[in-house]
Structures are given as structure tokens and as C-alpha cells.
């Protein structure tokens, strides 16, 4: 008997384009950017870069702050819970009368860096104090599993709880880990994804110093127009632009979805994770390619059956080149006809949350049959693929391959298929 399929029954994202996926998707396919220069939040006297993808209007200290977690001042916890509440509602599970037992729902919500914003703020505050005391909500808000903890607590979910921390592949690992729990029978449903907000001078300046992040530079095309800062696969790409946000999927086994009357939106057909074992930050071309192959193999399909490749596409010189070469190696003669795009041009790079945001976007793309564009694109002759430049494109999408790669050499790829009840 074929194993129970894993289906997506809810999806949501909180991004710099909007505090929900509907807004994010609408602006994404319109070719808009969520990036801006924000000296109000990122003081140029402290930050080497003030262009960023910030989420405004929700989170701690705002009028729309979630009162259930008001004491936890770290932004990633708020974004994670907000996206989880939205995905839960998107699945229709907020009705509460579907009979889903809380102890059969897993929560796998990770974060690359956790509550470093709170750590930084509390450290500054404590340094001026006459005693060595630190706020009692520092550690609860700092720990990287607190977004998962609050999703469990506020939604009443008591199955397994895991919080992957796999750098910029975190959200993908969370979704794959959730699928493994479902497949192993440890849970019927899983709330999975990742959340991130790590804007501190140390983190931003560290990324700039290691030349991963776009530096503030007078001659750069972002100097007059911050929306052009992130330009994946472009000839003049010069580093990623940091963002914050969260992406959450609700997964279910197909049989559980039927049992509880949940409507499948897409199928998680395959997933893969592997490790470079190579370098602290640089990707390894062979292992990246291998990860994509593993995911395609795990889905039981051939590369020709992939209709769109949703790229990691950070807008860094090395990553984009390595990734484009991996796509060419796998898709061969067909590579140039395959739509390849990175939404990071529009939403920046939300680090660990990025793969989960992209997963939610892929689910929406399957539903809408639209490929979101790579904005700010200026062709690089060395990367001759179809990057869906600047304008969204209608397409017949049966399957999407989405990949993410993280510092520490950790890779992830997911295959989403269109839901077909036949």
C-alpha cells in the first residue's frame, strides 16, 4: 500500500510586503518590493546597512500586539505565532469543532537566530543598572524554541514540538521534519515553518563584514532606490538584504485531512536534506545539486515534471552562481525553458524564515497558477536561465521544487504538487 500522502491544509506568511499572505502575494505578483531604507529603526550610527525588509504594524509594542504574548518582547515569537494563527485559520481549524485532538498535532517551528533583538535590548538596559539583574523574560524570549512553544500554548497543541535551527534552511528543515513525524505516525497534523527577526548591530554588521550582505555604498543602484537592493541572479548582485518575518504551513496526512474534513490545498510530494561538510558559509556545488536530486527522487518524479524552480536566490555572488549551475546540471537541455525565480528580490532574506515563507508562496502559486517574478533583474550572461524577470507569469504549474541552503553547509529541498483529488 502506498504511504499516506502528506497534504498542505493551511498556509500563511508574515513578510515585509504585508502582515499576511494575501497582501504579500498581491504585492509580490505586482512586482513590488518590501525593502526600504530604515534609519528610524536601524540607526546608521550603529548599523552598517539600514536597507532592510522590516515588518511594520504588528509585533511587540504595536497596537496590534498579541496580548497573549505581550510579555515576550522578541519579534520572532510574535511573527511566528501570528503566522501560525493565520495558517490555522486558513485550514479552518480555528472553528474548534472539528474534533482534532491537540495531542495529535505536532509543532515544528524553528528559527535561525532566535530572540537576539531582545538579547541586545536587554543587554543594553542591564548594562546601566546598578545590579547584575537581567529581565526575567529575557531567556524565555531569547530561546529559539519559544515561537514553537507559544504556538503550542496559544493553539492548545500538545504533540511533539521541535525547533530546527539550520540557518537559512531552517524553515525547509522544519517542514521536512514535520512530514517525517506525520509519516512515522507520531502525529496526524503538524504546524510547521519558521520565524525570524534578528536585527541587532552585531548580526547586521557581522553579515556585512563577511561580505554576505549588501554594504551601504554610494555608487550602488540601491543608493537612490532601496527597492533595488536585492537583485537575485543579476549581473550586479552584491549581497543579500536582511529581512524578518515568518512562514507557516499546516500539514496533515491525507487520511487525517479526510477524517477531520480539512481541504487539501497542495501535496508535499517530496523532501530532502543533506550536508555539505565543507565550509562555514560557502555552499558546495555537488552537495547542493545532490540535494535537489534527492528531493526529486523522493517525490518519485523526473526532473521534466518540475514546472517551476523556486530558488534560494539570495542575491549573493557565489550562492546564485552555484545554484544556477546546479539547476543546469539537473535539468539539462530543459533548464533554459524552466521558470526559475527568487522572491528574495521583493521580500529580502528573512534568514531561517525564508524557506517557510517561500513554501507558503509556492502553495499559493500552485493554487493561482502564477509564477512570482525575480524583481530588479539585470541579466548575467554567465547565468543564462529564465529568471522570470520583473513580471509575474501565468503558467501551468503541476509541481514546484523549492530549495534553501544555510550557513554551516545545510541544504534542503521540497517538492510541492498541485492538489488533485482524482
Amino acid at each position: 500500500m502506498a504511504p499516506d500522502r502528506i497534504v498542505v491544509v493551511g498556509h500563511a506568511a508574515v513578510t515585509c510586503l504585508g502582515p499576511d499572505l494575501d497582501t504579500t502575494w498581491r504585492r509580490l505578483v505586482a512586482g513590488e518590493s518590501g525593502l526600504s531604507s530604515r534609519p528610524d529603526r536601524l540607526d546608521p550610527g550603529q548599523y552598517l546597512q539600514d536597507v532592510a525588509g522590516l515588518v511594520d504594524g504588528v509585533g511587540p509594542g504595536t497596537p496590534l500586539e498579541d496580548p497573549a504574548i505581550a510579555r515576550l518582547g522578541s519579534r520572532f515569537v510574535h511573527f511566528g505565532l501570528l503566522a501560525a494563527r493565520q495558517a490555522w485559520a486558513d485550514a479552518g481549524l480555528d472553528r474548534g469543532d472539528l474534533g482534532v485532538p491537540g495531542d495529535r498535532v505536532a509543532v515544528v517551528v524553528g528559527s535561525g537566530l532566535g530572540g537576539l533583538d531582545l538579547y541586545h535590548a536587554e543587554g543594553r538596559r542591564a548594562s546601566s543598572r546598578k545590579t547584575l539583574a537581567t529581565g526575567p523574560y529575557l531567556v524565555p524570549g531569547l530561546i529559539a524554541n519559544q515561537a514553537a512553544g507559544q504556538v503550542s500554548q496559544q493553539l492548545g497543541l500538545h504533540g511533539p514540538s521541535l525547533s530546527p535551527a539550520n540557518a537559512c534552511a531552517t524553515g525547509g528543515h522544519a517542514i521536512a521534519s514535520a512530514a517525517l513525524l506525520l509519516r512515522a505516525g507520531e502525529a496526524d497534523l503538524a504546524v510547521c515553518g519558521a520565524s525570524e527577526s534578528a536585527f541587532t548591530p552585531e548580526v547586521v554588521n557581522g553579515f556585512v563584514t563577511m561580505k554576505a550582505m549588501l554594504a551601504r555604498k554610494p555608487g550602488d543602484r540601491s543608493a537612490g532606490d532601496p527597492s533595488q537592493a536585492s537583485r537575485p541572479f543579476s549581473v550586479d548582485r552584491a549581497g543579500f538584504v536582511m529581512a524578518e518575518g515568518a512562514g507557516i504551513l499546516v500539514l496533515a496526512t491525507e487520511s487525517a485531512a479526510r477524517r477531520f474534513g480539512l481541504t487539501p490545498q497542495a501535496v508535499l510530494e517530496g523532501w530532502a536534506t543533506n550536508s555539505d561538510g565543507f565550509h562555514v558559509a560557502q555552499p558546495h556545488p555537488d552537495r547542493v545539486r545532490r540535494c535537489l536530486e534527492l528531493a526529486i527522487g523522493h517525490a518519485g518524479i523526473h526532473p521534466e515534471q518540475v514546472d517551476y524552480y523556486n530558488a534560494h536566490g539570495t542575491s549573493t555572488s557565489v550562492n546564485d552562481r552555484v545554484e544556477a549551475e546546479a539547476v543546469k546540471a539537473i535539468f539539462g537541455d530543459r533548464a533554459r525553458a524552466l521558470p526559475v525565480s527568487s522572491i528574495k528580490g521583493a521580500v529580502g532574506h528573512a534568514l531561517g524564515a525564508a524557506p517557510a515563507i517561500e513554501a507558503a508562496v509556492c502553495v499559493r502559486a500552485l493554487r493561482e497558477q502564477v509564477v512570482p517574478p525575480t524583481i530588479n533583474h539585470r541579466a548575467d550572461p554567465a547565468l543564462d536561465l529564465d529568471f522570470v524577470p520583473d513580471e509575474a507569469r501565468g503558467a501551468r504549474l503541476g509541481r514546484i521544487l523549492s530549495a534553501s541552503f544555510g550557513f554551516g553547509g545545510t541544504n534542503n529541498a521540497l517538492v510541492f504538487g498541485r492538489w488533485n483529488d482524482a
Binding site: 496580548p67 505581550a70 510579555r71 538596559r125 543598572r129 546598578k130 545590579t131 539583574a133 529581565g135 526575567p136 523574560y137 524565555p140
Partner: protein, 85 residues
């Protein structure tokens, strides 16, 4: 209550820490834990806020004796006096 301004300031700190609904009144005899829903972590937060706002050093050994808002205000008054001396 010798200093009504201090009472008001302490009340504002408590409201801020525990996100107290504005409709909930705070009286001098209101107890922190039972009346205002200040849990053990909140209690530490309140004392840190007091320490930061009034420049007094709060001795953790003294905290057990503080039950009501009036107790806390009196404690701050006492610490200010002794630490200013």
C-alpha cells in the same frame, strides 16, 4: 501614603509590566499576586522596573515581605531615603 505621585508612578510600572486592562483599578491595598495577577516572573520584572525608574537597588531578600502595592511604594520610599543618605 506619603507620596501620591510615587504611588501613581509605581502603578504605571505595574500596568506596563503585566499589561493590565485599563478598567482594572489599582488601590494601595491591592495585592500584587492575587488582585493584579502578577506572577512570579512579573514580580521580578516589576522590581527591576522600580529599580531602573527610581534609581534604587532592590534587595531580593526583601521581596518576600511585599504583598500589596502600598508595601511596594513604602519599600521604594524607604530605599530612596536610605540610599540617598
Amino acid at each position: 501614603m506619603r507620596d501620591p505621585q510615587l504611588f501613581d508612578a509605581v502603578c504605571a510600572l505595574i500596568r506596563s509590566v503585566v499589561k493590565l486592562d485599563p478598567s482594572v483599578p489599582i488601590a494601595p491595598e491591592s495585592t500584587l499576586v492575587d488582585d493584579l495577577g502578577v506572577d512570579s516572573l512579573d514580580l521580578v520584572s516589576v522590581f527591576l522596573e522600580v529599580q531602573d525608574a527610581f534609581g534604587v537597588v532592590v534587595d531580593e531578600e526583601d521581596l518576600n515581605g511585599i504583598v500589596s502595592v502600598a508595601d511596594l511604594v513604602a519599600y521604594v520610599e524607604g530605599r530612596r531615603a536610605s540610599q540617598a543618605a
